[in-house]
Amino acid sequence: MSTMTSPILRPANPASERSSRRLSRRLHASGRMLIGGGVLALIVLTCLLTLPLTLDAPGQDHKHPAGPLYFDRQTPYLSRVGPHFDRAQYERASGLPQDPVDSSLAGRISLWFGTDTHGRSLLGRCLLGGVISLTIGIAAAAISVVLGVAVGLLAGYRGGWIDSLLMRSVDILYGLPYILLVVLFKIALEPRLGKIGLGPRAANLVVLFLAIGLVSWLTMARVIRGQVLSLRSLPFIEACRAAGLGEWRIFTRHLLPNLIGPISVYATLTVPQAILQESFLSFLGIGVQPPIPTWGLLASEGLIPGLNSIHHYWYMLIAPCALLSVTLLSLNFLGDGLRDVFDPKREAAKI
């Protein structure tokens, strides 16, 4: 025990040790942020830069002579990869047309993750799925920032009956199962969006963005309200009021800059939550509709045949799940790091 530096045996903190430990904490946090941010940037850039390829249209296959977009296109039968493709059986069956095998570099790279049950390239679907999953996460975070900050600011600053009304509504929304809210938003909004000229696929995506965003602002509102409550009582806000500044000016110029820390922290933590919620909705079959892929949908596609039939499609799980976990991990790293850097209260408490 004597060799181990026990926190219990730690001496009282002299000032020098305090500042050096704060520095090391910051470095620790920024190291985590760097890892999280770097991995995240790599994934986001890869998904975005390959967008022209995954949405590429000109090809043909024997099922879709018009040529579906790349992510929905079936690769030639002979080049499909996966334990369930019985090549010998295919070669015995003479009725099928002999597809030419795509031996170009891009064609070979597209088979890195194998092909799914319909023979589509999993790599292509994972890349486009990443774009959509991340957009859902960012849209939800944006909505939760706007709504949560507005409600939190208003409730915390005005206090009184406005505060009680807003916060009790938040409590009640917390009490309702979130799946109920999402599904009801979908039922209520989807036909209306169809009427104003959005296609069914676009309407489906927009409704999901809105529905997930509209149920994920509750935590943000609570956190911001708490922060505003403590800011409101500080002398500088009182000075602003005494100087006769308008409420809007106090909000935007004096309160908001002091809230950047918690806002950015909870926004980064909302993104992974929204992505997970979308994956759950896709698993239920009420999320993004196929053939549009998201990571959650791809994972559930790998799962359901694997559970119900004798074939094992486990390999279809690996790529989307790994991408999902790595992205969520790096977002959590980023958010935790931000929290350690920005949140002065936590830092004070730990020293």
Partner: protein, 308 residues
């Protein structure tokens, strides 16, 4: 204390009434009539009889009558599962979910607190890093993936646990484990942060100076104080776990309540939605009250009766 519990209990009906009203209007304003089915045609006479039984000739009659039925313990007939009453559906499924949920939460608290406390004591060491990474993966993996992977490994591949049965304690292990992963990861993180705070406080140093053994300090005095943030997380987490998880029930084929939360909404089964939401709210309120009471027992300095 008794007065505090009494006032909270008196607030229950008011909060439940608001949740009831909100759910009712959310379901009723959604387009489409809950009494007609999209998948098949229902006999006019059947609809009329159901409406009569629920006093649902108009929405305000139903709104007023349903709470009276609920107080009598009758949640009405299910609108999708013919011949089934909501009381019977919930009555059959709830014990299953509660059994599984209690097991899962027990595992989550014991393992999560243990890992979190050890990580805090060995802060910065390999065990700390290992547990932190495992906890982050636990939070990052969608529940349907972790549940299915457990199923694939232990049921399909190695056949250690039986597939799709329910009734013996053996059937509890895997679904319970799958259900406990996410709260376990969360509890471990909460415990770790709180424990680091507590270990550097003065009373720990005093206890050490008095000559108390290290393990006694960590596992009794420090942990008791570090448990508070975990406790406030436990209220909502336990309410969610005890009322069942759709994913775990689907993967392991368990007749629990979680499936009804999702299916009732998808089927727009008005009575079943109201029934499940009210059950969930009662659990949430009761467990939050329990947590507030437990606060006072763990830390006598906390005065739950004080006004915020």
């Amino acid at each position: 204390m008794g007065r505090f519990i009494a006032t909270r209990l008196l607030q229950f009906p008011l909060i439940l009434a608001i949740i009831y009203l909100t759910t009712f209007f959310l379901v009723w304003i959604a387009p489409g009539d809950p009494f007609t089915r999209t998948d098949k045609k229902v006999n006019e006479a059947v609809i009329k009889a159901t409406k009569e039984r629920l006093h649902a000739q108009s929405w305000y009659q139903f709104l007023g009558h349903y709470p009276v039925m609920m107080l009598k313990g009758d949640l009405g007939p299910s609108l999708t599962y013919e011949e089934w009453s909501v009381t019977k559906i919930v009555g059959d499924a709830l014990p299953v979910s509660v059994t599984l949920g209690v097991f899962a939460m027990t595992v989550a608290v014991i393992v999560g607190v243990g890992i979190g406390a050890l990580a805090a004591v060995r802060r910065g060491g390999p065990f700390d890093w290992f547990s932190l990474s495992v906890a982050l993966v636990g939070i990052s993996l969608p529940s349907f993936v972790s549940a299915s992977v457990l199923f694939a490994i232990f049921c399909s591949q190695f056949k250690i646990f039986p597939i799709g049965t329910w009734g013996s304690p053996r059937d509890l292990v895997l679904p319970g484990l799958a259900l406990s992963l996410a709260p376990m990861a969360y509890i471990a993180r909460l415990t770790r942060v709180a424990m680091i705070d507590v270990l550097s406080s003065d009373f720990i140093r005093t206890a050490r100076a008095k000559g108390l053994s290290r393990s006694l300090i960590i596992w009794k005095h420090a942990l008791k104080n570090a448990f508070l943030p975990v406790l406030s997380y436990l209220g909502p987490a336990a309410a969610a776990t005890l009322t069942g998880s759709f994913v775990v029930e689907k993967v392991f084929n368990i007749p629990g309540l979680g499936q009804h939360f999702v299916n009732s909404v998808l089927n727009r089964d008005q009575t079943l939605i109201l029934g499940t939401v009210m059950i969930y709210s009662v659990f949430l309120l009761a467990l939050n009250l329990l947590v507030d009471v437990a606060y006072a027992f763990i830390d006598p300095r906390i005065d739950v009766t004080a006004k915020a």
